[in-house]
Symmetry: C2
Amino acid sequence: MRAERRFVALLALVLGLAACTTSPPLRGTGDLGVVVERAEDSILIVDTTERQAIGRVAGLGDLSHASVVFSRDGRYAFVFGRDGGLSKVDLLTGEIAARVVQAGNSIGGAISQDGRIVAVANYEPGGVRFFRSDDLSPVAEVPSTYGADGARSKVVGIEEIADNRFVFALYDADAIWTVGLEDGAAPEVERFAGVGKLPYDALLTPDGHHYIAGLFGEDGLVVLDLWDEGAAPRRILDGYGKGEEPLPVYKMPHLEGWSVAGDRLYLPAIGRHELLVVDRATFREIDRIPVHSQPVFAIARPDGRQVWVNFAHPDNDVIQVIDVPSGEIVEELRPGPGVLHMEFTPKGEAVWISVRDANRIDIVDTETFETVGSLEAEAPSGIFFTARAHRLGY
Amino acid sequence: MRAERRFVALLALVLGLAACTTSPPLRGTGDLGVVVERAEDSILIVDTTERQAIGRVAGLGDLSHASVVFSRDGRYAFVFGRDGGLSKVDLLTGEIAARVVQAGNSIGGAISQDGRIVAVANYEPGGVRFFRSDDLSPVAEVPSTYGADGARSKVVGIEEIADNRFVFALYDADAIWTVGLEDGAAPEVERFAGVGKLPYDALLTPDGHHYIAGLFGEDGLVVLDLWDEGAAPRRILDGYGKGEEPLPVYKMPHLEGWSVAGDRLYLPAIGRHELLVVDRATFREIDRIPVHSQPVFAIARPDGRQVWVNFAHPDNDVIQVIDVPSGEIVEELRPGPGVLHMEFTPKGEAVWISVRDANRIDIVDTETFETVGSLEAEAPSGIFFTARAHRLGY
């Protein structure tokens, strides 16, 4: 009997310990990230130190154009699905902590400077909806109503800015709006109309000083100086493709991929086999760099020493690397078919590359250009690391 | 007997669960930081979301001039004590994961771009020692030997740079060296001699492009272009105090506090009641801003919109805030006696301020300048947040 009693006690102890060892081990979140598996409804959770996947989370809806932002502690990923789904994923447990389907068609989102509010930019119905980051409960909505008949515009290019505000563009309304949310008060909206035809995407300079939107309906861009409260948006780079024979556009370049390296911006020229080099202070074109094909992303290594460029179909098996001081292409990589995205580790020693049609992520050393690691993924597209939690406009 | 057996089983289960609930809860590390308690041998672990201390770790030696860097996952703080102690602190458990006393007198350190190597700059014996970040086991040593008689210089201003290298200055040798460590190979050292008299501290520009050292023995500074492999260090701002009546210097300004905001550097002028405004491209002085007293730190908000300045004794109860676009002082705060350091939250919505002689940390909103939180701390000095893990030269 005594032996049996001891056995039962031991069994209970083992069960108790087993119950607690099923909870994930303690770990830091600064070296985590997610990879969007665009053909599935899932993301991979990855570890950039060990260079491996540590989990997969499914049930996130249509991720065909998904983007991701992070909570300020780096523990949670907010995944914006194309179908209007907003999911909060716990990177430590691999569980969905909260999820809402908040619109019919959405294009991306942002998290406020203080981390308390998640904003989603919606196509249908057009506008921006705001949620508490802790439980995704709704906080406010700003419909993108314009004109006399109460139509609502598609909303694109939303970014968080200083003073806990957001900025975004209204595609159909030719407008840029900023919104501030104070506790318990109605959203405070500032509206800039007539900024240019069909703003279709935008970026924030890394210092949060300038918001720059691309115009689908005109040959130019528009910039808003966020530090000058009286300033209206102004047109820049007017006619940057004018007078030259237009090429068919296979894919609109992503403006969030525009890069700022030192005192220059590197912009994919729409429909051309060139990068535009633009002076950051004057927003004037100062150079063009011929590249392999139509650029999609042109992304600076975090120190701005290199710009990495990928290309539209059918040339999307190539990456070119530009050395910023010399302006020369110093490397050409062919990771495989369907290179969709690149994400640098926070200090830039490596870059992770989505090779969609090879169902693979490649990890490349940015000094030697050697492939130092590789992961399997299902049709990977966007790659997002938690260091984005600490930067405005990511 | 059956009841007794059940009781024993239950007891064992409870003990088992109790054992596992004493392990800390899962949490992200992106919103953690440490505060150095300079009069004690301890640091506070703080949470910048809840704005509170969550632990204290003692046994870290002499912290009178301590600095801190972080592992790339944000979980571990490497604390460099003045007495040559190097401690690896686990921010999740509050335990010392590893500790070595590696020299007699040291001034600070850095962590390599890839996070695998921790480097310590030593006064006595002079040189740099390198350790594995996982267990602090020694990897290599570079003695700062110079001249014919084999003397060793004090080493200051160590920073990690791209391509997994380090850069530092040799105070007694008027030199700047860079070091690269390949696995299993001897350290590869590049030496620049005669850079100027007595380099005493240095900073890396946020893009890792330029390393700038202050000279104690001359009226000027020296800059090394890290992107130009053939370049020698060159002198800048020669005679920036020349021809004016020198004031007594109460405290040498910290160069790591020098700030880069947009295309300008803001430097505390040694011994003067001024900030120097320097063009980042040419390194020429373009303006001076009169301030309250002798500046110690001049630190830019992460977006570069504001520069916050504190001052040397006896005026170290004051902080002034400069609005970068206008160059005007827009706020003056008096948090209390002994304002030693300021650290911004990663996206800049708040700043944490050490008020040493009030044994207090104040948390101030950078938009409203209101104090939004306060913590007790024992003679707090340096404040360091884990977002530094993701930036070169922090």
